[in-house]
Every structure is written in C-alpha cells, then in structure tokens.
C-alpha cells in the first residue's frame, strides 16, 4: 500500500506540507484515545491506591470511609459471573449452533432471527433494565434478587456470545464435517465430536470477553434493584449488590473520602477485567488453530 514514487519529479511543496499536516492530524487523533486512557488510569490509581487494602476487600460497606469495604459487592460480582457462565454460554452456543449448522438461510424465520440478534446487540443496556424491572422483579415476583440481575445480564450479553460463537463455528472447515459424514456419523455426532471441540477455543475467548462486558455493566442492575445497602454476603435468591453498583454508590456520596474509596473499587474492578481479558487473549493464542 506504499505510495508509488513520483517518477516525473517531486511533489510540490504545498502538497508535501498538506500531506505532512494531514499525517500529524491523524496521529494526533489516534493519540487522543490513548492519552485519555492513560490519564484515567493514572488518576484512578493516584486516588485509589491509599484505600486499596484488606479492609476494602473484606469489610462490608459502612458509613465511615475508613471501615467501608466492598466484600458483598465483590462476592455479588463473582456469583454473577458464575450464573452468567451457566446461563449465557449454553444458550448462546446453542443459538450459534442452530444458526450455523441447522438453519436454512432462505427461510424467513431464520432471517428474522439473525436481524433480531443484530438489533438486540444495539439496544441500550438500560432498556434491558426496564425489561428486568417489569418482568422479573415485578411481573414474576422474583423481587430484587441476584438471580434477576444475572438473568438480565445474560440477555444483555447473549448477542455477543452468539456472534463470537458463530464466528468460531464458521471457522471450522467443511472438510472436517464432510470427513465425519463420510464415516457415517449423524449430524449431531459431527457437531458434538468434531465441530464443537474444534471451535471451543474461539467460543471460550468470546464468552470470556462477553462476561467481562457483563460484569462492568451498571445501569440495568440499578433498575433490578441492586442499589441497596447490603452488609451480608449475597445469596442467589437474596438481595444483592455488585462491584460497579458499589462504586456508583460511593461516587454518589458527597464526602470526598468516598470518592477515593470509589477509585479503589475501580482498581479492583479493572483488575478483574484485566485478568479476564488477558485470559481470553492467552486462550486464543494458545489454542486457536488456523486451518
């Protein structure tokens, strides 16, 4: 893609200046994002590190910033991750298998299904919160419990799991399927013993990234009622809070010390996300095969 050197002579000065200025503009533009990211991290660490201690990890929330911790919130987030893994991944992979291996693209209902998933991916997260409020919390009478929060986050990240799983399944070459069919395997035998194992690294990577997205979500959880004072360890069918919610709660406090505590909470949240993302990248590099 390199420019062909001008055989007939040098470019005019004006043209070269414009080219240089444009290049500088592009470099500046792409730097802005990194600049803000760097500033954000430095700012959060500067504020949060003094509060980053065992008290934060192990104490329940408290009215005094010195004693306040995020233990119920951290546990809530961990439970939520477990439930998401149990709900979002099977349903997402199942949908992806249906769309890639079974669905006839020409049928109108399968097209509707695909368009529907594309649209769902772009629905604002707060709208999922409304869905949870109307159906799970009030409609089903589940109440403001951890399970309701996990179900809403499942629906929220389902499109992400589906899309990444579909890509992983599509990347398995047809020759593998045909080889298995030629040996007399049924369709499900082909899928469960050949396609799925080959696609698992890609599916796992995508699922971890989707989980990471889910546990950083705040808005939908606000609506299903995670914003309560919870001092005890959460249970699946009990009141709950989660790390981003706890951070929001601390930010909303007028005292400055709670803002610093919020920064410490953010460090914990970012650390969890970093571990998950690093894990996803490691999985991809370690196990992904190129056919």
């Amino acid at each position: 893609m390199s420019a062909v050197p001008a055989i007939l002579g040098r470019r005019s000065t004006g043209e070269r200046v414009r080219g240089g200025a444009f290049y500088a503009l592009l470099v500046f533009s792409i730097s802005v994002g990194f600049l803000l990211l760097g500033t954000l991290l430095v700012d959060v660490f500067r504020k949060g590190v003094p509060f980053l201690d065992w008290v934060l990890l192990n104490n329940p929330p408290s009215a005094s910033p010195e004693k306040a911790g995020a233990r119920p919130a951290i546990l809530g987030t961990i439970y939520m991750m477990g439930l998401l893994l149990l709900m979002a991944v099977p349903v997402g992979v199942g949908t992806a298998l249906y769309l890639e291996e079974y669905a006839d693209r020409e049928r109108w209902y399968n097209r509707v299904l695909e368009i529907n998933i594309q649209n769902l991916a772009a629905v604002p997260s707060i709208v999922y919160g409304i869905l949870g409020l109307a159906f799970l919390v009030r409609g089903l009478g589940l109440g403001r419990v951890l399970l309701a929060g996990a179900m809403i986050l499942t629906l929220l990240v389902l499109p992400i799991v589906i899309v990444s799983s579909r890509e992983a399944i599509r990347a398995v070459p047809d020759s593998i399927r045909q080889g298995a069919y030629a040996l007399g395997a049924t369709q499900w035998q082909v899928i469960s013993r050949q396609v799925l194992p080959a696609a698992i690294p890609g599916i796992a990577t995508g699922s971890i990234l989707a989980l990471a997205r889910a546990i950083g979500e705040t808005a939908p959880l606000l609506l299903v009622g995670a914003l309560t004072y919870v001092a005890i360890d959460p249970t699946i069918l009990g009141q709950f809070t989660a790390l981003p919610i706890q951070i929001f709660q601390w930010i909303a406090r007028p005292q400055d010390d709670f803002k610093l505590l919020a920064a410490a909470g953010i460090i914990v949240l970012l650390a969890i996300l970093l571990v998950m993302n690093a894990g996803a990248i490691w999985l991809r590099n370690r196990y992904q095969r190129r056919w």
Partner: protein, 311 residues
C-alpha cells in the same frame, strides 16, 4: 453378469436411509432452536414490557403534552410531563460526544487503514478497543472527579454537574466504535482502486480522502449512526457527571438530565408499581427504544450495503 447372478444370487437392495428415524437428532435440533428462541422472546419481552405501561401512561397523559411540553417534573405537585427537557439533554450530550467521536474516530480509522504498517495496526487496533472495554461507571467517575475540575481549571465556567464534560468523555469512549467499523469498511475497499489512484500520481492524502473515504462512505455513515445510537443510550456517564436537573437549555455547561439518566434515577427509588411515576419510566423508555431502534436498523442496512458491494 449371468455368471455373477448365478454365483451370488440377486443383488441385495442397498438402502442409504437410516433403519429408523433418529429421534435424538430431532430432539437436539429442537433444543438448539429453543435456545435461538430466547433472543426472540427477549425482543418480544422488551416490546411488551415497554408498550403495556406506556399505553396506560398515554391514556392518562396526552401524547401531545408529553412530546411538546417544556417542563419535566413528574414527581412534583402539580406534576408536569413534558419530555422535551429530557430530549434536549440527551441531544446536547449526544451532540458533544459526536463532535468528539466522529472526527477523531474517522481520522483514527484512516490512520489504521491507510497509513499504519500492518504490524503497527495489529498492536494499535486492539489497544484502542481497550477504551471500549472500560466500564462506563469508570468513565462517569473520571468525568466527574477529573475532567470537570480540569475544565474549570482551564477557565471554562462549568457547573459541577454538566453536559459538556460528560459528552466529551463519552465521545472519547466512542472513538473505537467509529474507528473500528469505519476501518472495516475501508479495509474492504478493493486494492485496485487505490493502486489506480496511486498510478495516476495521487498522494497518500489524496488517495485516502478522495478514493478510500468516498468508497467506504456507507460503512463510515453506519459507524456514525451507531455512535449516535450508543451516545443516546448511554446511562452511567450522564447519570454521574451530567446531574439530575431536567431543564430545557442549550448551554452544555449546565447540569442536564437525559432520558437514560431519568429512567435510572427513577428506577433506583422504590416507586410503587402502577403509579404514574412508575409508568413514566416505561413511556420514556419506549421513546428511547424507538429512537435507538430506528438508528440501529438504518446502520445495519448501511453495513450490509457495503458488504454487498465489495465482498
């Protein structure tokens, strides 16, 4: 042939079909189809959840008052249900965010697609995506506790809660959205178009701006539309940094409430089911959903268009 028949008897009939119907295969397919139905049920659920209370809401408050009223005070006595201040707040923050995200995102896409060496792109593109992976509550914290004071320090007279700071930070968050989709579109512009332009003596600037950008325009527009839709639907940054006062003003330095922030702020409180306050959540939510849905459908069609042309 005759000798063979004599030796082996009549040729056995070979059947390629399975002896019996494989029910377990059908069961598996059914289960997978059920999984796929979950996402359809989600959409239906969203529509029903929004529509039903909204219809009740609009039977109590006229739609004309709702969409043309300039005072939003659902929790006051006497209450007033004009959604315009919330729409204005959303529009204001979205406009600021787009002014940041669109030019910077497009420039970043041009850099990645036309200027960066493949190795540089391989590192820069995922690094930029890190921005999109930071939880929005963190951006809200940053806007409130760092960016707003920064604006005040450089002499911009902003309120502690303001739309400007929230919008700028949101704009930076949206850069990867614009850059990533635009870059995809530019990458699918055929190499021949560039080579032709270079052969005619075009500079890299000319090829980028006059060949690649116009050829990828539907994807670029799609990325813009998607960014707008994201900005409209973003909740936490505005809830934290833009304040909670629904006022009709064009001044971005003032506190504002967006539709999303209103929904969140009202949903946090334990509003009694069936009350008019409860129903406002759904009426505003429906408005938000319809606006973003229209934009998303538009963006998806645009993306499909450039894929059809070049891939």
């Amino acid at each position: 042939m005759a000798t063979r028949e004599a030796a082996l008897g009549p040729r056995p009939e070979i059947r390629l079909r399975a002896e019996s119907r494989r029910w377990s295969e059908d069961v598996v397919k059914g289960v997978l189809a059920l999984c796929a139905l979950v996402s359809v049920a989600t959409t239906l659920g969203i529509v029903i959840a929004l529509l039903e209370p909204s219809i009740e809401f609009f039977s109590e408050i006229s739609a004309v008052d709702f969409f043309s009223g300039t005072t939003w005070a659902p929790l006051f006595v006497p209450s007033s249900f004009g959604v315009l201040p919330l729409l204005a707040g959303t529009l204001n923050v979205t406009a600021v965010a787009c002014l940041v995200a669109m030019p910077l995102g497009l420039a970043a896409a041009i850099f990645l697609s036309e200027y960066a060496k493949p190795r540089v792109r391989q590192v820069l593109k995922p690094s930029l995506e890190v921005l999109a992976g930071i939880p929005t509550v963190v951006f809200g914290f940053f806007a409130l506790t760092f960016f707003t004071p920064l604006l005040q320090d450089v002499g911009i007279d902003v309120n502690v809660f303001n739309a400007l700071s929230a919008g700028i930070v949101m704009g930076v968050m949206l850069i990867p959205t614009v850059a990533s989709i635009s870059e995809d579109a530019m990458a699918s512009v055929p190499r021949e178009l560039r080579d032709g332009a270079y052969a005619l003596g075009g500079s890299r600037l000319q090829v980028s701006t006059r060949i690649v950008v116009p050829a990828a325009i539907s994807g670029i527009v799609a990325s813009f539309v998607l960014a707008i839709s994201r900005a409209i639907g973003e909740t936490m940054i505005v809830l934290i940094a833009a304040g909670g006062i629904a006022q009709l003003t064009a001044d971005s330095r003032e506190p504002m409430q967006t539709m999303t922030a209103f929904i969140a702020a009202t949903g946090i409180g334990d509003v009694p089911t069936g009350s008019i306050e409860y129903k406002t959540i759904f009426a505003v939510g429906l408005t938000l959903f319809v606006i973003t849905l229209v934009m998303n459908v538009f963006a998806i069609r645009l993306v499909r268009k450039y894929r059809e042309i070049y891939e």
